[in-house]
Amino acid sequence: MSHSFLRGAFLAGAALVAVSSQAMAADATLTIESWRNDDLKVWQDTIIPAFEKTHPGIKVVFSPTAPTEYNAALNAKLEGGTAGDLISCRPFDTSLALFQKGYLAPVTDLKGMDTFSDVAKSAWITDDGKSLFCVPMASVIHGFLYNKSVFESEGLTPPKTEAEFYALLDKIKAKGEVAPLDIGTKDQWEAATMGFQNIGPNLWKGEEGRKALIAGKEKFTDKPYVEAFEELAKWKPYLPEGYEAQAYPDSQNLFTLGRAAIYPAGSWDIAAFNAQADFKMGAFPPPVEKAGDKCYISDHTDIALGMNTKTKNPEAAKAFLEWLATPEFADIYSNALPGFYSLSNHPVTVKDPVAAEFLGWRKTCESTIRNSYQILGRGTPNLENELWNVSAQVMNGTLTAQQAAEQIQKGLDSWYKPAAK
């Protein structure tokens, strides 16, 4: 009965102290704050050794937090002065806020920043385009992964159009052996990220729609957005039984155990799936409405690395950030973590076939980023968090597409006034 906050806060505090005193043990030890706990092994075994080999005297520790808790934990650590030296940056407004509060050091003048395109930098630059505050690391692409052995045994082929997509799902459902579409709504974010933002760009025409939202020319209650929610509602009958209580790791395990056919994915899943699944995977981009329509993919600038202004080893931290701009890093990162695509201009050959498949869509489809991040991610209620909630509710059947769209627009209207009309 005596579950008190104090106890929890005290334990968390003690853990922080333990972590930070560990970090201060050696002179030039860099601690990286990140939300990529899935990548811990790759950082420890591949990326960090490669850096330490060429930079003797600098030790690097990768210290990730659970993705959903990352920002809250990071903010608390930054305010308490216990955050690591290098800080993984979410794109756009979240990191911009950290920069404005003086927690992130400008990195504009570091060596090698010209190897990043303007698009890559746009996610971590001030509104006036003058100060870059994080070094771009990687983007992730959305699409669908499928179990090749299920497809082959049934003689199925990846769909190109929406009609083909649902026909395919119907076939798998009729067979009844595996779940046709593998996504759950318990953790909520998958519904928005791997659902709404995955299939949506085809409907709102990628960047065109995203910019129109920012300019106030389009609203979430307009047809493309309502249609995106309607699509999600149509997924309901194809989801695994009890998907309302299915968390993200459950979905991942269902797919890698071969109990689901199609997995609405982010390319970041590829690395973990390669390690766990004993069948071959394939991938297809979000189906378009009619054959021959232009396709759009969510190619989201997702991760960058910034420097804590309070770091005790600014020179070592700068050396690490500059290393991120080298061809060596681009190659190591893209191949050690298939599914994360380096944002620098160095030509990189992605060796993993599935990751290369995702990357190939950049040539045939137009890229866009998630519409809830740039500028629209600044207010309260937070658009991204709201999208999680309503997308999950649409898939649960507790909100209709129209209601979801209205709720989102209402929240946005409450604080966002488009610049000039």
């Binding site: 009965m1 959903t68 003086g102 709504t185």
Partner: protein, 320 residues
């Protein structure tokens, strides 16, 4: 069950015979007062102060009066979530009062029966969940109830009730009740032990006298034992109230800080956490969080005071 009235000592006796200032009282009180002030009173007052301020984008604090409270109660963005959390919290408390405490009293009454064997074993088994970490409890129950991997479905299936299974933690109408029952399962040991101890304190002569007068076990419980343990039940009630309105950990472990689905399991603790620390892309708002914490404090204070003034004073205590 002694009366709580303390006999009043004459002032002169406290102050010593010559009427000197009672330094020893100060010395004895100082350590506790000091520690309590540093770790409880000061943080409490400082968070009250913080709730009257607001922070701009650069993190500079400025005085804002009651603006945070006004937003919390009247700005639909905040108030919808706040009232939702408060309502859920009341329901969470109600489940504990209606399920946990009656079960605990019933089990205590059974354990206190004179001829029961293996009393210690039962008592230990029932108290074990209370000793486990909430993180473990949350994780175990999440696994048990998981529609994908859980045993709940197959266990219901073996007794022919498979159709009753639903993804309880994922449905808006069942998630909160499910978690409240998990919490009941975990914490039932506490009121159980307290009432059990109170029951053991009842002298055998009373129950024996009742039996001589022809009362059965049921009559003895309802007419003799229960009236004697009302003060303990009152204390259990107030502990449950304080515990439930401060609850946070189980919801956080099982559903995350977003307290899904659609905030159906959001209670004041998780609401406070999201406000104060932020969640995913929503940044933390320490001043607003302090306002939420203050309201939580006032709710608990009001509940406890109501109890002490209206209930505690009317409870009859018997000198045994």
């Amino acid at each position: 069950m002694a009366s709580t009235q303390t006999a009043e000592l004459p002032r002169a006796q406290i102050a010593g015979r010559r009427g000197r200032f009672p330094w020893h009282v100060v010395v004895f009180l100082a350590p506790a007062t000091l520690i309590y002030t540093v770790f409880m009173v000061y943080p409490l007052l400082d968070s009250l102060r913080l709730s009257l301020f607001t922070r701009d984008e650069a993190g500079v604090e400025s005085f804002a009066g009651l603006a945070n409270y006004a937003a919390l109660f009247f700005d639909p963005q905040w108030s919808d979530r706040f009232w939702n959390a408060l309502g859920n919290n009341v329901l969470f408390f109600a489940v504990h009062m209606l399920v946990q405490n009656p079960i605990a009293i019933g089990l205590a009454a059974l354990l206190a029966l004179p001829n029961l064997r293996f009393t210690n074993t039962y008592r230990t088994l029932m108290f074990t969940p209370t000793l486990l970490s909430v993180v473990i409890i949350g994780f175990i129950w999440k696994l048990i109830l998981s529609p994908t991997w859980g045993v709940a479905k197959s266990m219901l299936g073996t007794v022919g009730l498979g159709s009753l299974f639903a993804p309880w933690l994922g449905q808006e109408h069942s998630a909160l009740i499910t978690l409240a029952l998990v919490s009941v399962w975990q914490w039932v040991g506490m009121p159980l032990l307290l009432t059990y101890a109170a029951l053991l304190n009842i002298p055998d002569s009373l129950t024996e006298a009742a039996r001589v007068d022809g009362a059965g076990q049921m009559t003895i419980f309802w007419r003799i034992k229960l009236p004697l343990i009302w003060p303990t039940i009152g204390m259990v009630t107030i502990l449950t109230f304080v515990g439930n309105f401060n609850a946070f950990d189980l919801i956080y472990v099982a559903q995350g800080a977003l307290a899904g689905p659609n905030f159906a399991t959001d209670i004041l603790g998780t609401f406070f956490y999201r406000t104060f620390f932020g969640f995913q892309l929503q940044l933390g708002d320490p001043t607003m969080g302090a306002a939420v914490a203050t309201i939580m404090f006032l709710i608990i204070l009001a509940g406890v005071m109501t109890y002490f003034y209206l209930v505690q004073r009317r409870l009859q205590r018997y000198e045994l």
